[in-house]
């Protein structure tokens, strides 16, 4: 085989190119300088986005991965650079986002000496990575990076971190080219699908009178949106989503009955405890979805489709566990199930939806109060984007309201921090999402609390000129915590009263246009102006200070004890 001399640093970049990477989010520093030096010669082939903080970098990588379906790549230096990735790694781990993070490390001979900017990043990140590995010899780079990309994207995706000591980055070695990895003997990403489980599941579905589908992000990660749609359409079943399942099925699909969980819709929550078969697809029965576990769907037979066997029986015991990639298992189910008209059962959902609309939705979307509501802002965004935008939310009340009311026509349009609930996620994730889907409008919906956690990334917007619409819903409170204090802690508002700077002026200092709306009369125009604006734009909307998000399943309650007020 023909070989050529290459440095470890160049081998890292060659690996990125071979894996189809076009964008890298990162921040340089001492221990990763050789890689950045090599990057100087690769500017034509690899676009590097200089972020303002490594946490911003990794959230951008997550946003990129979620909007594009590709692996997000993040560079950071050793020590503080690497530790700043930890929140994003934990977020990507719990939300199954494929990432390859490359961190620089001190020279191998300095490992364990408390060298400048040395941290034991491998051990720090072990619980929050799908896989991690430290390279101290450049010859390992092609093989390990191939393995890293393969592990990150295959099976149940997740973040991988590769720590490369500085000497390995400098080291020249005989490079034999790059071979993609498609097999690791101790790793089984996709199992053999067993026909008997398919048959059992089909039989349960065919005999069901009141089946309910609950789908999660597995449908998106498996790129199985079409297969999923065929499956529910043939069987006529109502389908409800978890927060990360949102946008896998268009929101206006007649069988889409809404969200399950704490701030989900009335019907799917109550009827979880009335259905006779519950078909869970690519979801993991999070406690925010199930509420009180010993009163969750006890009457129903549970069919659980998941690619990760450790999810089956973890929280809710399955009667039939269909272990496999839903891209493959769903068509097998569709083949077996009978075409059915379940309009009567769907009507039960519609009746609940009507009650919810009258009591919760209408006052939120069309308020008669002088104060604006978050819901009406989202309604106007829907009317303007026609449901075609990518909406990236932060964490808190605005997140729940947005996920409840935003309209989506296309998959990979809802990007949010679901499992970890990372405040500060939205702005950097929106930047990454735009880089991952340049042809789409990206709207970042953020609360006044979360925005102040990562607002330094306005600098990234300024420098790259990327087009992200920033919509701050300002209720002058850390709203979700305030809501709980209101409902469960006698209104003892402990440290939730948060002040904001002048966001419009702040944006302006970064060269970003913006406006603030305090009067309903200006709202529609302002949203339209934001969305029509060429380039990034910040719109701050002052909303009611003490509005609560309803419906709500209070913690410790059963999903059927959902409260409308």
């Amino acid at each position: 085989m023909e070989t050529k001399k290459l440095t470890g640093s160049k081998a890292v970049l060659e690996a990125c190119i071979a894996e189809g990477v076009d964008t890298i989010f990162g921040y340089p520093g001492g221990a990763i300088m050789p890689i950045y030096d090599a990057l100087y010669d690769y500017k034509e082939k690899l676009q590097h986005i200089l972020v303002r903080h490594e946490q911003g970098g990794i959230h951008a990588g997550q946003g990129y991965a979620r909007s594009s379906g590709k692996v997000g790549v993040v560079f950071a230096t050793s020590g503080p650079g690497a530790t700043n990735l930890v929140t994003g790694l934990a977020d990507a781990m719990i939300d199954s986002t494929p990432l390859v993070c490359i961190t620089g490390q001190v020279f191998a001979h300095l490992l364990g000496t408390d060298a400048f900017q040395e941290t034991d990043v491998i051990n720090i990140t072990m619980p929050v990575t799908k896989w991690n590995y430290q390279i101290t010899d450049a010859t390992e780079i092609p093989g390990i990076l191939a393995k890293a990309f393969y592990i990150a994207r295959s099976g149940r995706p997740g973040p991988v971190l590769i720590d490369i000591s500085k000497n390995a980055q400098f080291q020249e070695f005989d490079y034999e080219g790059y071979t993609k990895c498609n097999h690791v003997r101790s790793y089984r990403p996709s199992p053999i699908i067993r026909k008997e489980y398919i048959d059992e599941a089909v039989q349960l579905i065919n005999n069901a009178k009141k089946p309910l589908v609950v789908f999660g992000q597995g449908v998106v990660l498996g790129k199985a949106e079409k297969e999923f749609k065929k499956f529910i359409e043939k069987s006529g079943m109502p389908a409800a989503w978890t927060i990360l399942g949102l946008s896998a099925l268009p929101t206006d699909h007649p069988q889409n009955v809404g969200m399950v969980g704490m701030h989900g819709n009335y019907g799917p929550n109550v009827l979880t405890n009335e259905c006779d078969v519950l078909i869970a697809i690519g979801m993991r029965f999070d406690d925010r979805v199930t509420g009180r576990l010993d009163k969750y769907a006890k009457q129903a037979k549970i069919i659980h489709l998941d690619i990760d066997p450790s999810e089956i029986d973890k929280n809710v015991k399955a009667d039939v566990g269909v272990w496999g990639d839903c891209k493959e298992t769903l068509p097998l189910l569709t083949l077996g199930i009978e075409q059915k008209d379940r309009s009567e059962w769907l009507k039960v959902f519609a009746d609940y939806a009507k009650q919810e609309y009258d009591q919760c939705i209408q006052p939120e979307l069309y308020p008669t109060t002088p104060e604006m509501t978050m819901g009406e802002v989202i309604r106007i965004v829907n009317e303007t984007t026609k449901g075609n935008a990518i909406v990236v939310t932060d964490v808190g009340q605005h997140q729940m309201v947005t996920c409840r009311y935003a309209k989506f026509n296309e998959t990979r349009s809802n990007i949010t921090s679901g499992g970890l609930g990372t405040m500060g996620f939205s702005l950097p994730a929106a930047i990454g999402a735009k880089f991952g889907a340049l042809d789409r409008t990206v709207v970042a919906v953020i609360g006044d609390g979360g925005f102040q956690m990562t607002l330094q990334e306005l600098g990234t917007i300024m420098q790259t000129g990327i087009d992200v619409k920033i919509l701050i819903l300002n209720n002058q409170f850390l709203g979700m915590v305030r809501q709980w204090q209101d409902m469960f802690m006698e209104k003892r508002y402990s440290f939730v009263d948060i002040q904001s700077p002048n966001y419009v002026m702040l944006a302006k200092s970064y060269g970003i246009e913006g406006a603030k709306v305090e009067d309903r009369a200006d709202l529609v125009k302002a949203v339209e102006t934001m969305l029509a604006h060429k380039g990034s734009y910040l719109l701050e909307v002052m909303v009611g200070k003490e509005n609560n998000v309803f419906p709500m399943v209070p913690q410790g309650c059963s999903v059927s004890e959902i409260r409308l007020k």
């Binding site: 072990m126 619980p127 896989w131 991690n132 101790s186 089984r188 067993r194 990760d308 089956i312």
Partner: protein
């Protein structure tokens, strides 16, 4: 069969690649759930290059099953099994250091060796080291017997265990190495047999 939630001793056997850091990856699965590891042994296995962990915990079957699945999910873990005590043959090794003058004057060493199946592994003018192997109760007995005579040092190894039903890992590994492994390896065992999982 015992109740799902009743705690008992389980021996978890894990076949892995020989990789730096894997011990930690496995250990944090227990510590994250606040499970105390009673005993942990790492050693080579019957297959060259493949490592074998033997971990003993006192937990309910339900918890052990979930932990084992998390272990098996780790990239470098090939396979993990869990067994109750009646499904395995196991041993632990214990060493006892006693002062020679104490022990030779007051005890009949010969009786010790016979009664407890002990061996003397070092005999010096100043001290003697005995060794026994067996289950915990057995090694404890000699410890108790020696205590009155000033047991200077005592140490016991982790449990090592052989699974009675196991046919070894040679054949399984061959299957793992294939691009398209057979059902033997990708067997949907948790989901299928339910009650009889992790028998080989």
């Amino acid at each position: 069969m015992k109740d799902e939630n009743e705690k008992q001793e389980y021996t978890i056997t894990v076949y892995t690649e020989n990789q730096v850091g894997l011990l930690n990856r496995i250990a944090i699965i227990f510590s994250r759930r606040k499970i105390n590891v009673e005993s942990l042994n790492t050693s080579p296995s019957e297959v060259p290059g493949i490592h074998r962990f033997t971990i003993v915990v006192e937990e309910s079957r339900d918890v052990v099953l979930k932990v084992v699945r998390q272990i098996e999910k780790q990239v470098e873990v090939l396979k993990a099994y869990y067994n109750t005590n009646d499904e395995i043959v196991w041993q632990e090794l214990a060493l006892y250091k006693v002062l020679s003058e104490e022990i030779t004057e007051k005890v009949k060493v010969e009786r010790l060796l016979r009664e407890y199946g002990a061996r003397a592994v070092a005999i010096r003018k100043d001290f003697i080291v005995f060794e026994t192997t067996g289950h915990r109760e057995e090694t404890n007995k000699l410890m108790k017997a020696l205590e009155p005579y000033g047991l200077v040092e005592f140490v016991r190894s982790a449990r090592v265990a052989i699974i009675k039903e196991s046919a070894g890992f040679h054949e399984k590994l061959k299957d793992f190495e294939k691009r398209e492994p057979g059902e033997e390896v990708t067997e949907n065992e948790y989901l299928g047999k339910r009650e009889a999982v992790f028998t080989m």
